[in-house]
Structures are given as C-alpha cells and as structure tokens.
C-alpha cells in the first residue's frame, strides 16, 4: 500500500512538472537572443521596420499602485498620441509606431525581476518603472543582458553612474538634487537662520541631507542646530518633533517620504507652538493630500521642489502643453481622471525624451539608442517648468537634475527665486 501511494505521488510530481512546463511554455517567448550576440548593426530585439516595443515593470496594484499606474499612463498617452499621428520618425529614416507592454510588480523586487525576464527578449528597452528596490532587482541582469533600463522613476543615484550602470539612466532628480536646491535657495538669504533637520534613516533621507549640507557649506548665516532621524516604518515622530521644537529653529528641513507621517508632523508642530518654515520633498508636498489635512496655512512658508507643471493649478489651465497632455491622457492613456500624482506628468516627459532619442538613433540597435539617449542636452520637454530641462550627458546625474524651489500659496505652488 505504501509503495503504491509512493508511486502515485511520483506520478503526481511528474504531472506537476509537465503542467509547469506547459504553462510556462504558454508565456514563454522563443529563445532568440540567448547567449548569441547579434551581428554588428543587426536590429536588436523588440524593433522592426515599422514598430518598436517598450517594456515597463511597475506597481499597478498594492500600496504604490497610484503613482505606479501614472508611470504607465503618461508614456502610453504620449506614444498613443504619436502613433495616432502616424508614428515617430527614427534617426535611420524609418517611421515606427511605439507599443508598450506594462506588467505589474506590486512593488515586489522578485516579481519585478520575473517581469523583466519575461519582457527582455520581446522589448527594445525597459523604461519608466517606479521604485528603487524593484529597479535594483534586475539592474545587474540588465547590464549582463545589455538591455537598456532607462528613464526610470527612482531617486537612487546608482542608476545614473555611467561606469557602474552602463545600460541605465534615471529620470527624476536624485535625492541629492532636491536637497541641494533647498540649500541653494536658503543660501540666498541674508538673514541668520537656524535649521532643524529630520531625515528618514535610509538612503533617501541621507541623500537629501547630503545635498542640503553641500549647498549651505560656507554660508555663515546658516546654522544646523539639531538633526534627528526616524525609521520609515515608524508610526509617529512626535518625540523627534518635540525635541526639534526645543531647538527653536526657524527652518525645518523634513526629508520624509511617508504621507501619513508628514501630515501628523505638520499637525504636531503646530500643537507644540513651533512654526518654522518647512522644506518638503517633492513626493510628500501635495497641496490636497498633505498640506490641507496637515493645516499648512499656519506656517510662514512651505517650500517644495518641482520640475513639472501642475495640471490642476489655475496658472496652467490655459497652457497648451497641459491641455494636450490632459486630453491625450484621457484618449490614449486609459486614465480618464485628472492625474493625482506627478508621476503622470513625469511619465509623459519620459515619452517626449524617448522620442528625442529615437529621432537621433542611427541604427535600430540598443547600442545606438543608448548613445542617442546619452547625448540629449538642454531639452525642454513638454510640461517642464522654466529653468528645468532634460540633460543626459553628465555622469552621475539623472536625465532631469535641475529642480526649482516653489512656495505654497494656499492652493498651489509658485516658483521662488530667493528666500524671504
């Protein structure tokens, strides 16, 4: 009996492996590209004479689904619009339409790697995906396979170090860029300032603080009076705020990426009677989602950084870029609502930047694409704010490394030149 069951179980295992094989066979591509290097100048995978396919792995479900969906919607809308116009004329003289294959990774690095494995032989380049760990998970694999992993949405500097990451390029400013922009603005002030710093205890917080400190170096009128950290998993920063409030700083540099914590921090400082000017990171400075519930009107100034026009802002209601963008998002991006996250705008700019690279690449190869992508200089993508641009040539910097500092005006943000 025992033996009988044993072999029965064995049959089960065999059946299971057969099943697994057939199921993966359904999802599998051909094994073109494995090992064998293509001949010089031969087209790379994912590009034909009439079309090019781009891959995206990004969170489309789970806690980061909101921004993640935006990262797909923007570029899909841009390319949809271009396809409707007939396609993009490439540097080799052929006009191609752009297809996009997006997969959900739920912000799970393991799933992101799986998605990459699935896409790599079918797509010309990977782009626009959101998340630091989810992009890092296949960084080495992309280098080994020589698959472009470009214009991705992470502030992690590693993707912009050409030496370390030859097939990568980040799109959004790295954390240091944002911190630096704050520091530079503050350095324009002639008054004495005391700064209190609260930073997330990871590469995000460290990057911000590093950039900020480098910019205020040598400014004698600015003094950092207290500097504390918190963990991204903390549910409260009340203790840190109480201590920082005692420093009586008039500037509060808060490198915080957690939305609920930011709201409660804005509320707590008021309760403590501490009303400094705040510097907020770009991803936790939404007027409706954070500043309003946080009661930001109580503070003399709320500053943040940006490089994209806010479509909801009345200042841009008549803007031609914004109108094109909003209608394309609705028609081609499968995103009928007004965009809730700046990632939608960023993704749109990724589309425009890719178009620039496509127009300049002379051969339908990934090598040629990377070369063209790395030689974009001072390109003002649609939706970009004045004084910001896409420049891809500088080692160690992402495609967009310039940001402008903006001050909260009660409803939206206005760009400021000096600190008042």
């Amino acid at each position: 009996m025992k033996r009988h069951l044993g072999s029965r179980k064995a049959v089960g295992i065999a059946a299971a492996s057969a099943l697994a094989l057939t199921v993966t066979a359904c999802g599998g591509g051909n094994d073109a590209g494995r090992g064998g290097d293509a001949a010089e100048g031969a087209p790379s995978p994912g590009i034909t004479d009439t079309s090019v396919t781009l891959g995206i792995t990004t969170p489309l479900s789970g806690a980061t689904a909101g921004p993640g969906t935006c990262t797909v919607a923007g570029v899909t809308a841009y390319m949809g619009m271009k396809n409707a116009e007939g396609g993009i004329e490439f540097g080799d003289g052929k006009t191609r339409t752009v297809e996009i294959e997006a997969l959900d990774d739920t912000y799970d690095p393991q799933q992101a790697k799986a998605n990459y494995d699935q896409l790599k032989d079918d797509v010309f380049a990977m782009t626009a995906g959101l998340g630091t760990p989810t992009n890092r998970a296949w960084l080495d694999a992309a280098i080994a396979d020589e698959v472009p992993q470009v214009l991705i949405m992470t502030g992690d500097p590693i993707f912009s170090e050409t030496e370390q990451s030859p097939w990568q390029l980040g799109f959004v400013p790295i954390y240091q860029n944002e911190g630096e922009a704050f520091g530079e603005l503050l350095a324009t002030s002639t008054e004495e300032h005391k700064v209190a710093i609260l930073a997330q205890n990871d590469d995000y917080g460290e990057g911000y603080v590093e950039g900020f400190k480098s910019a205020i170096e040598g400014s004698d009128n600015i003094e950092i009076v207290d500097e504390l950290t918190y963990e991204a998993t903390d549910t409260s920063v009340d203790a840190q705020l109480t201590e920082l409030a005692n420093s009586e700083a008039d500037i509060f540099f808060n490198a915080m990426s957690v939305t609920p914590l930011m709201i409660s921090a804005l509320q707590k400082a008021q309760q403590l009677g501490w009303t400094p000017s705040w510097f907020l990171p770009s991803n936790t400075s939404s007027p409706t989602a954070i500043l309003e519930p946080g009661g930001a009107a109580a503070y003399p100034g709320i500053y943040s950084v940006s490089f994209s026009k806010a479509p909801q802002s009345p200042a841009f209601a008549e803007d031609e870029d914004v109108q094109t963008y909003l209608s394309a998002l609705k028609d081609y991006g499968n995103y009928p609502d007004p965009p809730a996250f700046p990632h939608c705008q960023w993704s749109w700019m990724v589309g425009a930047t890719l178009e620039q690279a496509f127009q300049n690449m002379e051969e339908p190869t990934r090598d040629s694409f990377m070369e063209a992508l790395r030689s974009i200089e001072g390109y003002e993508a649609p939706l970009m704010l004045p004084d910001t641009s896409v420049s891809t040539g500088e080692d160690g910097q992402p495609a967009v490394s310039t940001v402008v500092v903006q001050k909260f005006n009660g409803r939206g943000y206005d760009t400021v030149e000096t600190f008042e």
């Binding site: 044993g6 049959v11 697994a20 094989l21 199921v23 993966t24 998970a137």
Partner: protein
Amino acid sequence: MARVMTAPASSPSSPSSSWRRRPWVRWATPLLIVAVLAVLPLVGTEFQNETLARIGVFAVAVLGLNVVMGYTGQVSLGQIFFLGFGAYVTAYGVSQDWNIVLVFVLACLLPAAAGLLVALAAARLGGLAIAMVTIALPIVGVPLAKRLNEYTGGSQGLSARFAESPEGSGLYDDQWTLYLVIAIGGVVFLLTHFLVRGKYGRAFAIVKGNENVAASMGISPYRYKVLAFTIASAIGGVSGFLYMLVIQYTSPETMSFGHSIELLAAMVIGGAASIVGSLLGGAFYVLVPQLTNQVDASLTALLQGAILLVVLFVLPGGLASLPRALTRGRRRLRAGRGPAAPPTTPSSTPGSGTAAEQPETERQGHA
C-alpha cells in the same frame, strides 16, 4: 521529449488500476522523474528555465512552511523572514567572497538557529498565540534589515551574482541555475519526504491531532513543535539561498509581511501536509502573478484574489487533492448513471474507508 512527458501525465486516467503495482513501474517512475528533471533545463527556453527555477525557490519555501504548519499544525506567519534571512546571509557571504559551500551551510544554519531561538519561546504557546509571535518576525525583520545597513545594504538592498555556469560545461547561466535549484531543492524535498513519512512525521501528526494524546504516548509536544519549527526555518534558509541564486537581489521588501501571507495561501492552495502540494504551491506563487499580468496588468490583485477563492471553494484540500476529487467525481458519475450498479470498491464511499487506506492523502483534508 514530448513522449516522455506525456506518458506520466496522462497515466492517471488509464483505466487499469493495477499497473502501478507492477514492479517495473515502481522503479521506472522515479527514474523517469530524474530523467525528466535532467533533460528539462536543456530543452526549455531561457524564460521557461527562469520560471521553473523561481518555482523551485518558492516550492522549497512552501515546503518549509508545510513542515511546521501542514504536518505539525502550528500556525506560522513568519516563514518569509527565514527566506529573507537566508537570502541576506547568502548575499553578505558572496559579497565577502566566502566559499560558496560555507555560505550555503551558513544560510541553512543561521536561520535554523534563529528559528530554534524563537521556537523555544513560541512553542510554549498554543494555537493563535504562536501565530502572533511568528507575525512579529517579518515585522521586526524589515526595519532590522534597513537599520543594519552595514550588512544588508539598507533599503537599497544587496545584489549578488554567483551562478555563472562553470567554464567548459557548455551550459547557459539559466540552465546551470536551474540545475542547481533542482539539485538542492530535490535533496530538500527528498529529505523532507523521508522525514514526514518516518518516526518524526508520525510524531508531528499526533502533535497536530491532539497534544494530550501525544503527551500520553510519551511524545513531548513541545520538543516536536520546536523541532518542526527549527526544520522549517532551516528549509526557509535554503529557499533564501536559492532566492539569491535565482533572483540575485534582496532588499527589505523581500521579507515584507504580505509575502508571508502569500506563502501561506500558496501552501493551502497547493495542499497542506503534502509534498506534491508544496511543489504546486510554489508553482501557484510564481505562475498566478504571471498569468494575471497577461490577462490585465492593472487588475492583478483582483484576479489573484478571485483565483484563490475559486480554488478554495472547488478544492478545499488544495490542488494536490485534485486527482482524488476527480476519482471521486468519476465514481459518483458512474454511480449516478446506473443506480443499480454497486460501488466498484468499498473504499469508494467518501469518508468511510479512506482513513485507513490512504493515511497520507487523508491528512491533506484536514488543512
């Protein structure tokens, strides 16, 4: 190849029920499996091999969970912590250029030691209390991994590539990786198979069934719970090693609590207290996201939930109970067609003779 594959797959539907008892079948089946596993990496495409390797990783993780939960009946929600721990040990060891065999041993032993420590305290508790203690593991693990950034790379995580196929083997990296996963995973599966069918397995089953009965038979429930938990942690560590081998990257996200629940769901769906079920659970864990991604990438969570519900409604015993359910269904159909026809065998009456005749498969039903 296709002929070899289809032979075992189609055989359960063969009308002859005695063929399995023939000696040549008993010997040929394991040989056939070994042959299939040996050939498999050579014929698959790169993506198929990578997917199979990933299935192997999570099948081992689910197997570990099965030891403590399926076979011993202790709710553990912390299995992903041991996978993550093993992955971090591996990544750190590789980054320090330690011998890979030493790294593997450490990736088993350190999680096992951690599991032992936790179990010494947790196994004194029963029922849901042990579940609460094990919940703490991933919840503590994530911030710990972020904070110990000297060893873990903080929230940016650690990459390690150490599975380049050896020079002269002529294998592609993905084939070599899959062979390693099959070899290591296969050994773990075999060892676990013998463990749960032997003396320890019987003790685990009694502890699961009734702790008082176990104690009255001279089986210390505490000791066996600790043992099961430690073994599960060690297996978790092995799956962490395989995780690094296949995915080559780990970050605090690896051990987030949600994945622990997903592992649990995979175990129940595959079939609790079943070796084959662990394999099916691993396949479920890996293939369902791929499948739902192909259907509609923006509805993956919804579709996965729906699939989970459907499987549990249709097959409460998990996918491993599918053949049994089919047999039962066929018999019922046959009985329904001819009311006069008596059941072919006494055991066909559901629930009566099965307990005595099919101890292994019956246990699956309790999950």
